[in-house]
């Protein structure tokens, strides 16, 4: 394994072993998910078909089901405002959903900014950009605390004045203002300044969903970790590579479940792995399949 291999031949072995489609299965599914959710929101304003109304901050599906972003909702609570029932139930429904499927599924399967930051990461690899500047991965939790504190001190949803995530979603759905500047900014930041800077280090919304997903049910599992040939490609594609090691290389006494709330369940590691080490499982599957065979 060499570092150069990581940048040039990424995924080639998986494509050879599994075929292009299977080596991109989860990536394609995620793109379909992200784009169709956006499309569902646009069906109303573009074609007058109102399946879902509103924006990703808060919406109404089929005129019945309220859905509210729990992070925005939490900021509202921190301002001291006591909201009405609709928004409470909307936030509860969404929280329960992510509690089941993994908090940061929001980041990798719903949030349109993920497409931007994935593209930036791809360009980084293609252009072989290596920068030494690293933000702290704890920074996002700092911003999370600050965003909630600011809400409570000022009595306003202060983070929502600059939150690129909700801003871009809203302007995509309601008409573009200048929020594209934030898209460009995040793209430049992720490409030229620091790898995965926004989603993996700074975004407090992602940090919030990490907290929700801390003990969520659906997990990526290094179930066939005995087959790992140390090609390191999963680390190269993973937006949060620090989450892989404990599960993959933790030793026989460590669970193969990727247990960090930071894992986005994007399943790109499953795609990229030529040895099919990773699978999506629920969190209570702790045994590995081929482990004991190897030990025998």
């Amino acid at each position: 394994m060499t570092v150069t291999k990581m940048y040039t031949d990424l995924g080639q072995e998986a494509v050879k072993n599994k075929g292009w489609l299977r080596a991109h299965k989860w990536l394609l599914l995620r793109r379909i998910s992200q784009l169709s959710i956006l499309f569902l929101f646009l069906l109303g304003p573009l074609f007058d078909i109102w399946i879902i109304k509103g924006s990703m901050s808060s919406s109404l599906t089929l005129d019945v089901i309220p859905l509210t972003d729990p992070f925005v909702f939490l900021q509202t609570l921190f301002t001291g405002y006591i909201p009405v029932l609709t928004v409470v139930s909307g936030a509860v429904i969404v929280s329960l959903f992510y509690f089941l499927v993994g908090g940061r599924v929001y980041c990798s399967w719903v949030c349109p900014i993920n497409i931007v930051t994935d593209a930036a990461d791809w360009l980084r690899r293609v252009l072989k950009i290596k920068t030494s500047l690293n933000f702290s991965r704890v920074g996002r939790y700092g911003l999370l605390v600050v965003s909630l504190l600011l809400a409570s001190v000022t009595g306003m949803l202060v983070w929502e004045l600059v939150n690129p995530v909700t801003m871009i979603q809203r302007e995509l759905i309601f008409g573009m203002g200048f929020s594209w500047i934030f898209i460009v900014g995040i793209f430049i930041l992720d490409t030229f300044v620091s790898r995965r800077a926004w989603c993996g280090h700074l975004c407090p919304m992602g940090a919030f969903y990490s907290v929700i997903g801390k003990i969520s049910l659906i997990r990526v599992n290094a179930v066939n970790r005995a087959d790992c040939n140390d090609c390191m490609e999963c680390y190269a594609v993973c937006p949060e590579p620090q989450v892989i090691k404990p599960a993959l290389k933790g030793g026989a006494d460590r669970s193969p479940v990727i247990n960090s709330g930071n894992c986005t369940n994007c399943a790109r590691c499953i795609d990229i792995c030529a040895k099919d080490v990773f699978k999506i499982k629920h969190r209570f599957i702790n045994s590995t399949t081929s482990q004991h065979e190897v030990h025998i």
């Binding site: 509202t76 700092g142 306003m156 202060v158 004045l161």
Partner: protein, 280 residues
């Protein structure tokens, strides 16, 4: 052993460094953002919130910027503030001169609001207080030139209560009347139809956020005539008749007849005498 201790010291040091770097950055950023947010606490004069809006400060904490009110507005009156506009990002507002509020009877925007930022207790649209119309430019308003216009009065959905026409004397011609539109804050909903309809190039009557438009009487003020009416009698000893320092033999009545000369001698033939009395 020494090595492990060293390592754990190193990793603890790294961890603390990491935390303080993150905290420092976040706090600095937070201070900047907090200061920036203060600029948006008050609504700019041209932006009007939807019907049922709660107090602006509460509104900024309650509104989740979802745009459901905008979607359910049948007249495309409401917009969400975009980046670069002086209204808090993502919150709904309208500009009366562009598209005013049509005051729908079923108030769909309020029904759509999931958070209560638009008060669901608003049932009658006439009770809405989005802002207050003010006839700002009396120099430009043609009613003040003595011309008949009254368009703002005629389009007002709460005509005669929110806007009435008060007549006064036209000093320029000396014989005509001015038909002056007067807004009454007790009934004006702030829908902005008057501002929208104003025939001038730039509206003379404008809807302003209520806070900006309204004055407030000192809380200790008591209006004598109100108190007298409520009590059914005068609450203070009536004033003594005011004594003016006037020429001998004359009286002065402030509100009625002015200078009175009860003992005026009848006119005599002397022209000089008549002149001195101011009468010819």
């Amino acid at each position: 052993m020494n090595n492990t201790a060293n390592n754990s010291l190193k990793s603890r040091r790294k961890f603390l460094e990491d935390i303080s770097r993150a905290a420092g950055g976040a706090v600095l950023f937070g201070i900047g953002l907090g200061l920036y947010s203060q600029q948006l606490k008050s609504l700019p004069a041209g932006a009007i919130r939807p019907p049922g809006v709660i107090d602006e400060t509460d509104f900024l904490s309650a509104c989740v910027r979802c745009g459901l009110c905008v979607r359910d507005c049948p007249y495309d009156t409401l917009k969400l503030a975009k980046l670069g506009e002086p209204v808090a990002l993502g919150t709904p507002y309208f500009k009366a001169r562009d598209i005013p509020c049509e005051m729908c009877e079923d108030i769909p925007c309020v029904v759509a609001c999931p958070t209560g930022a638009l008060d669901p207790g608003l049932i009658d649209i006439d009770d809405a207080r989005m802002g207050l119309a003010v006839l700002l430019d009396q120099e430009a308003c043609i009613a003040f030139q003595g011309l008949r216009c009254e368009v703002c009065y005629n389009v007002c959905p709460v005509r005669d209560k929110a806007i009435s026409i008060d007549r006064s004397h036209n000093k320029r011609t000396g014989k005509h009347a001015l038909f002056i539109p007067v807004v009454h804050s007790s009934d004006c909903t702030g829908c902005g139809k008057c501002e929208h309809a104003c025939i001038l190039e730039a509206a003379a009557i404008k809807v302003l956020p209520t806070k900006l438009a309204k004055g407030e009487l000192g809380h200790h003020y008591r209006l004598g005539w109100d108190e007298k009416r409520k009590a059914g009698k005068s609450l203070v000893t009536p004033d003594l008749e005011h004594k003016y320092n006037l020429p001998e033999g004359t009286k002065y009545d402030y509100e009625k007849e002015g200078l009175i000369q009860p003992d005026a001698t009848p006119f005599n033939e002397s022209a000089l005498d008549r002149l001195n009395k101011g009468r010819l």
